[in-house]
């Protein structure tokens, strides 16, 4: 039982979670499409995806340096002071010999979010200019495989818990890096949400000679 040849595959989409064949919703519709059988999100609509992603990823990249190197929290215990930055958290664990854990923290909280912003910036710029479509395949695949390892939101919760937990032990207050980090978290989340990978793939396919 094959599909009738009169139906073009372009008008159909498949569900990755339950293998159902679904009619592609018309591109005029401006809302998300879910699988009718298992409810997974199939098509995410995003207005003006490329321009928005470009603007958001540039702003995200600018905030990255201060968010990584400025102190997130500052602590004072009876005159002894301490502060933590994202980089220092990784280095300190490395120094105590826990290299596997510190690499994991480095990967999920700094490297992956940074590469994602870089890739989104590069991809949306190239898609906007319409340049080098065949060179975009690898970066786009890399972007898709990295997204689930970006954990800035989990890190944010970690900072909050550390802040509340240490209140009993000494004076703790947020440092300048924390404000940059919150900005970075918002921008990074919005830029991932605004980027439409499906659109990117179809543009690449259309423009490849």
């Amino acid at each position: 039982m094959g599909i009738p040849l009169t139906i073009k595959p372009q008008t159909l989409i498949g569900c990755p979670n339950c293998d159902l064949l679904v009619q592609r919703p018309s591109s005029k519709k401006r809302h998300d499409a879910c699988c009718p059988r298992c409810g997974s999100l199939l098509v995410r609509s995003s207005l003006d995806s490329i321009n928005r992603t470009l603007a958001l990823s540039i702003s995200g990249l600018i905030l990255f340096i201060p968010a990584c190197f400025l102190p997130l929290l500052e602590l004072n215990i009876y005159g002894h002071t301490g502060s933590c930055t994202m980089i220092k958290g990784v280095l300190q664990m490395m120094k105590s010999g826990y290299w596997w854990m510190s690499c994991l923290v480095l990967f999920c909280s700094i490297l992956v979010p940074f590469f994602i912003q870089m890739l989104l910036f590069g991809l949306s710029l190239a898609l906007k200019l319409g340049a080098w479509p065949s060179l975009l395949v690898r970066p786009l695949k890399l972007y898709q495989s990295l997204t689930e390892w970006a954990m800035l939101d989990v890190y944010m919760l970690g900072i909050l818990i550390a802040l509340i937990k240490m209140e009993d032990y000494g004076d703790i207050f947020p440092g300048p890096g924390l404000y940059c980090f919150i900005g970075l978290l918002v921008l990074a989340t919005l830029s991932i949400l605004s980027f439409d990978a499906g659109l990117a793939w179809s543009l690449i396919e259309r423009r490849t000679p």
């Binding site: 339950c18 215990i77 301490g82 933590c84 664990m93 826990y98 689930e148 690449i204």
Partner: protein, 204 residues
């Protein structure tokens, strides 16, 4: 024809990377758009996921028995395991945080491993539960997995923040290494499991 039309019985394969539909037929088809190898079902999904889940269960033991942090406060200190850390949070009157840490460090990894094992058993022994709810469980498991990194990030932040030599310090313990491995393994396990196998049970 009241059977739902799936990709498999339509002779199509979905590229999981770029979501292009490809006609099945060739022996090792590649996606013409992104170049990935495409499979109607992820090959070896069951055995790889089983291996990861069993390793994950084993590593839960050292992750919970060995200390994950060594806290020194004003000269004296003791090693803390995940559970003793949560208990001392409750004793300090920080119940909401204790609940959050309990959820992220204990409930999420165990729920994830049990959930994937349940799905694997369903496929292996052809138990037919509601495929819709099984997929819902799978999507839930994939969604919550990353939050178990919470404890590791917290250790990293505290290690840098409380670094005052002999007076006060926080250092990671060997349990943290095991716990980090559990988190990574469960993330890979849910990625490796192919939820379409659940729906195949309905077809046959």
């Amino acid at each position: 024809m009241n059977r739902e039309q799936t990709l498999r019985n339509s002779g199509l394969i979905l590229c999981l990377t770029c979501h292009k539909l490809i006609r099945a037929g060739k022996k090792h088809p590649r996606c013409p758009r992104c170049g990935s190898l495409v499979h109607s079902r992820t090959p070896g999904s069951l055995s790889t996921t089983w291996a990861l889940v069993i390793t994950g269960f084993w590593l839960l033991i050292p992750a919970n028995i060995l200390p994950i942090t060594q806290v020194v406060y004003l000269g004296d200190g003791q090693p803390d395991t995940i559970i003793s850390g949560i208990i001392s949070l409750i004793n300090d009157g920080m119940l909401p945080i204790a609940i959050l840490v309990f959820l992220a460090s204990i409930v999420v990894p165990i729920l994830k491993l049990l959930g994937i094992s349940f799905l694997l058993l369903c496929v292996q022994f052809k138990w037919t539960f509601s495929a819709y709810h099984c997929t819902l469980l799978y999507r839930f498991i994939s969604l919550i997995g990353r939050w178990s990194m919470l404890d590791l990030f917290m250790i990293s932040i505290l290690t840098a923040l409380v670094d005052m030599g002999a007076v006060s310090s926080v250092t990671p313990g060997p349990g943290a290494t095991a716990f980090a491995t559990v988190v990574v393994i469960t993330l890979f396990a849910s990625k490796r499991f192919d939820p379409r196998l659940i729906w195949d049970l309905k077809e046959t």
